[in-house]
Symmetry: C2
């Protein structure tokens, strides 16, 4: 979807439906604001009761307007909107912004009204922003349809499901000397234009250098991920996601009616798509600002330059919390620093002036240069009083600080490494601090925020590198695809959705996944030969029936069986239990397999998320998933990096690298399994759920102990390969 059709978001002419001469109405304020700001295009007020408004000709009807406007601002109540959109369409209007609420967020009636708007719009290829939106602005066009005061133009584009969040950011921006915005779009109910389309629009908007988004829930999450993958490689996307707790989610529902979904899942797939996540709403703007003005860091090795131990210690804590490491300074760097700062100054990172700078703030530039020139340093975090030495110590230091500020910005440009700066005196706005801000070094008033900014710059460095590097497709060649398709066809032919484990295992086999030596045994007399073929370890026996999914609950599982008599006994028991559990169940027999050696137990699950489509979940077995929720998610299809990141993301990851004397598990085998499963889902789009639980990991190889596959409702009809296509393109888009 190209965003050409969204050009109306930077309109040259605006139709205001529901224009008003009542200053309390949006239909008045919007026009007043456009005139006040000097909007260069034409404004066509529409109101049957008026002939003139603020010196503009006012039209009785849309059809009376002699020119086709780029954008229509619709300020009238919900009930009137479908008809107005119809008229706008006839008048050749390109796009409309619908402010009214009372649509799908309010229930069935509103939902119907919303659909009426959408179909009217679609008939004429007219694009819709909203409904239930606060509006939008475009500073380049001097087009402020949301009525925010004190707008400054700048590189930050805002895409938000909350008008108040945008207002927060704009009001906050006034406390930064030069920070400004390109455009804001309140997406509202996304009835016609979905979130991801705006991403493409911002990607192509030359005035936008960073995209700051506030999201409660996404209606087309999978499309968003695709767009984000493509856009984030070129322009940073910063996201604050609310509705991460039960309370937050119910609050979100009553707000935008959006489905918030599982936050762990959301974070996983967003990270995969190159989105920079902030976990606090008040970090959204500063992190976006940093990404807009500063170079990204090519690594996570940070040097701290401080004029006091307290701030240095806080910074060190915050950086490690965010996965940054304190750079190891070269001996030569440390010697130069010692020579510069004197014997009492700690010069192993963090570097602390320990008073040396009190009357020599120029040391900040000298120290910073020594750090930036060290090849082991990817970025420098300056914390403390800089910019306020003239206030704290001696007013005569002002000029020194101003010279030093210019040196710092020059150093950032020269070394192309970010210099992030915290100053206690940010809000005193001394000239030194203003010079920094005006020359691409934003100043933060909080050590925590500064540490967050520098780690975002490091994160974005990774996103950019990933965006450029071509990952070779390490996907395996499948064994026998048509055979694989037949297996599922058999199931759907019986109008069944449960793929019994014997078939599931065979399906995996066809995709080159080893499922061990389990054998289907259909009758007592097959037991002996089956036992012979299997090793003489103790065996496990599980019932096989499309109607019995939870085998243990049905008494359909027996473990540690040795010898024929035991097997026969177990076979009889299982059949009886199964029969009692569900009278009409079709019993295909039992699956006989050797008991597995102990190892590290994990779960791999694939589901279709209502927001993001097919996703894989990884976690350690048992309580780790169910109680601790220590899991990681990625959208399908996976590549090597995704799989590796999933393993690294769980809190208990140390277990995979071996603890308490045990060795590291076979990462390669596990990642290979994850990639094959991902590929499998691309081919068999009719699979709705696939769970391997547990899989036992060993130092060499792994063993899949249980396979559960469920087909979708629609599986009996042939499934369009839409998913496979979408998935593949999403995959390639990261390469």
């Amino acid at each position: 979807m190209t965003s050409a059709s969204l050009s109306f978001l930077a309109p040259n002419s605006i139709l205001v439906v529901g224009a008003s001469n009542n200053p309390a109405k949006r239909g008045y304020n919007a026009i007043a604001r456009l005139l006040a700001d000097g909007f260069s295009g034409d404004i066509y007020p529409v109101n049957p009761k008026l002939t003139e408004l603020r010196g503009l000709t006012c039209y009785a009807n849309i059809r009376d307007v002699p020119f086709a406007a780029d954008l229509a601002l619709i300020c009238t109540p919900a009930a009137t909107v479908p008809d107005i959109i119809e008229q706008c369409g006839q008048a050749g209007v390109k796009g409309a912004v619908v402010l009214a609420s009372g649509f799908s967020e309010t229930g069935a009636a509103g939902e119907a009204l919303e659909q009426a708007c959408v179909s009217a719009a679609r008939r004429f290829g007219l694009r819709l922003v909203g409904p239930n939106t606060s509006g939008l602005f475009n500073t380049a066009k001097k087009c402020n349809l949301v009525g925010f005061q004190d707008l400054r133009s700048g590189p930050v584009g805002v895409l938000s499901q909350s008008g108040n969040m945008a207002l927060s950011m704009i009001t906050e921006s006034l406390r930064h000397p030069q920070l400004g915005f390109s455009s804001y779009i309140g997406v509202g109910n996304e009835a016609e234009i979905a979130f991801h389309e705006y991403l493409h629009y911002f990607a192509e908007d030359k005035d936008t250098r960073v995209i700051a988004t506030y999201i409660e829930g996404l209606r087309q999450g999978d499309a968003f991920l695709q767009a984000a993958r493509q856009v984030s490689a070129h322009k940073p996307i910063v996201l604050y996601k609310s509705g991460r707790t039960a309370s937050g989610q119910s609050a979100a529902r009553s707000h935008t009616g959006a489905l918030a979904g599982d936050i762990t899942l959301c974070r996983g797939v967003m990270r995969q798509a190159g989105v920079i996540l902030v976990e606090r709403s008040d970090h959204l703007l500063p992190v976006a600002e940093s990404l807009a003005y500063q170079p990204s860091a090519s690594g996570n090795r940070i040097a701290i330059l401080a004029d006091g131990g307290g701030h240095a210690t806080i910074a060190a804590d915050e950086l490690s919390d965010r996965g940054m490491v304190l750079a190891e300074l070269q001996k030569s760097t440390q010697q130069r620093l010692q020579a510069l700062l004197g014997p009492q100054a700690p010069v192993s990172n963090p570097v602390d002036f320990a008073g040396a700078s009190d009357h020599y703030p120029e040391l900040f530039a000298d120290g910073c240069e020594l750090l930036l020139s060290d090849p082991g340093v990817d970025a420098v975090l300056v914390v403390g009083l800089f910019g306020g030495y003239q206030l704290r110590f001696n007013s005569t230091l002002a000029t020194t600080e101003e010279r030093t500020a210019m040196s710092l910005t020059a150093l950032q440009d020269h070394y192309k490494k970010p210099v992030v700066l915290h100053s206690v005196y940010k809000h005193h706005r001394t000239k030194a601090l203003r010079l920094l801000e005006e020359n691409n070094i934003p100043v933060q008033d909080s050590v925590e925020v500064a540490a967050h900014c520098i780690s975002a710059l490091a994160q974005y460095g990774v996103v950019q590198q990933r965006g450029q590097q071509v990952v070779p497709d390490r996907h395996p060649i499948e064994r026998n695809l048509s055979r694989a398709r037949d297996i599922l066809q058999q199931v759907t032919n019986n109008a069944e959705r449960v793929v019994t484990e014997d078939r599931g295992r065979e399906l995996l086999m066809q995709h080159g996944i080893q499922t061990g030596s389990a054998r289907l045994v259909q009758s007592l007399d097959e037991l002996d030969s089956a036992m012979q073929r299997l090793s003489n370890d103790p065996l496990a026996m599980k019932v096989v029936s499309p109607q019995i999914v939870h085998k243990s609950d049905a008494g359909g599982v027996r473990l540690n069986l040795r010898g024929l008599p035991a097997l026969q006994q177990a076979f009889g028991d299982i059949m009886t239990n199964a029969r009692n559990y569900q009278k009409d169940a079709r019993l295909d027999g039992v699956l006989l397999s050797p008991m597995a050696r102990p190892g590290v137990e994990i779960i791999l699950g694939i589901t279709r998320d209502p927001q993001f489509g097919p996703v894989m979940m990884f976690g350690l077995g048992g309580i780790h998933v169910e109680v601790l929720r220590d899991v990681s998610f990625r959208a399908l299809p996976l590549n090597q990096d995704d799989a590796a990141e999933m393993l690294a993301e769980i809190r208990a990851k140390a277990i995979l690298s071996g603890v308490r004397g045990s060795n590291a598990i076979d990462h390669k085998a596990l990642i290979d399994l994850m990639l094959r499963l991902s590929r499998l889902l691309e081919y068999h789009t009719e699979i709705e759920e696939l769970e391997l639980n547990p899989v036992i990991l060993y130092e060499k190889g792994l063993e899949i102990l249980d396979v559960r596959i469920l087909l979708g409702e629609s599986a009996t009809q042939p499934v369009p390969p839409a998913l496979a296509k979408q998935a593949t393109s999403a995959y390639t888009s990261t390469q």
Copy 2:
């Protein structure tokens, strides 16, 4: 320790040693500042080269000063300080503030110098602040010895190991219309006065309503906890602890030389002592402000009042993250709200005006009153644009907002429930917002900060209630104390430190702790009778030897043994293995016990923490402790609340209440065990470590599978009951 001897911290006369006429020197600035601020007491500059300084008589020597000063500010280099303290002592000075660095934070030589200062001071009962401190101020006395500008007096007392952190708070406070400080004390190296003494000082200082502390590490943590328990019941203590990561800890060491210690442990014992912890340095001031000005909340049921869904959703998330719950509003409250706000407004908590307030900001007061009057609401969080309606919508709304602001403050007073307010427009400082701040409703510019403030008020409500309520001593009566002492005496008589498991179990028995039916077997021929006496479940056999602590490593453990031959075989093996493992080990035999039924495996460990003294650790067994570090700590002695909180604090707590079909474990039995262990440690102060690992918890009762006890080095000498006394008093202080 009374803080009477710290009265010099509010001095009426000040001796400045190292007074100077060089404006770059502290010895000049301190005096200039005292004069400029109008310090009412006497100032005695001391400098051999000067006779007069800024109009004050300057003395050549301390002994020449005709009056004994309350406080001496020592601005001279480290080497000179011991002698100067000596002279101050002779001159009858009450206390001294030593600014110079170059003492214990720099190594052995500095350590010696510091000790010289301390012993000089002690000879004269002179108290020492620092050395290596930024100084102190007392606004009531107009005594600013640290040279911070723009100081305002107010209710916040600051106690900090970092001068820059104090500077951060003071500079930040300038952005709050009325926030100010009573005193600041930079504790420096705490050579003579330790952190906890200052807590007592602030507790008695009538100008201080809240104590805000920045700590990297404590030298006398146990004394701090005792002081905090006593003080926090009457005055809130807010703490930001840095040095929580490896990087942060090494940074802290090179700063104050303080030992940062384990953050989980620190948080546990601090919470136990009633300290309000903030995990971000930039939340320290706003949280302290809220606690200083607002009533505490008597519960955690919060109502959110918002003029936009975005802020409401963010607030809901933040509150649940902090353990608050969204109050369930009574039907009647919801009906009244609906009547007030109209049909479109969501009135189940969060309450969202949904535009209703755009031109009627007085609705904030009306809505707030309905919420506060609901008995199910403990506090109200207002988020959004209040105070800026006059800017956002119509300047004529200013007076309405001002009236509404006064109503909100009146409501907080009337209902004695906190009303915490977030406003996007905080920094526009409209009169409405100033009125709020001046009448005990601080305004926050961040939803996250506001949510943190309200949960701190709820936390402090609990601390106050706990402080008042008298907890009956539920401690058990011990069986036979003298017998218990004998057991350990036997060990120390052999000059041993390891208490073998048979003795350990007997010790626990004497304290009323059931340790099951394990039996010591010293020779092969005792095996049979021992086996008879135990049930005929399978048995476990463990070597018993004071030299073999890690029994499994020594091949000293055999499990699932059935029948005499198996037992004899195992006995032989274990003896041989033990012998090979350590030739000269004394082998007392083996411990024979029934194998335990499966249950929930936990670890209880008691160690003596270098900072906080004896602490108990609780966690689930195996990886939960070692890999996930999912543990909780409390200082000894424990009370019921402490023990219950420990169980509730681990991430995996759900396992204790039963998951996946299993039932809840016997909380009562576990808590009883924890309390008895705590009491045991009070009696046997020679115990250095005690670990029960694992303990198996059941639906009814529990079983202790392994007991490991280690005595302290000094255990062979009789141990003074100091710990027991300290511990008991600390215990009673919470009751």
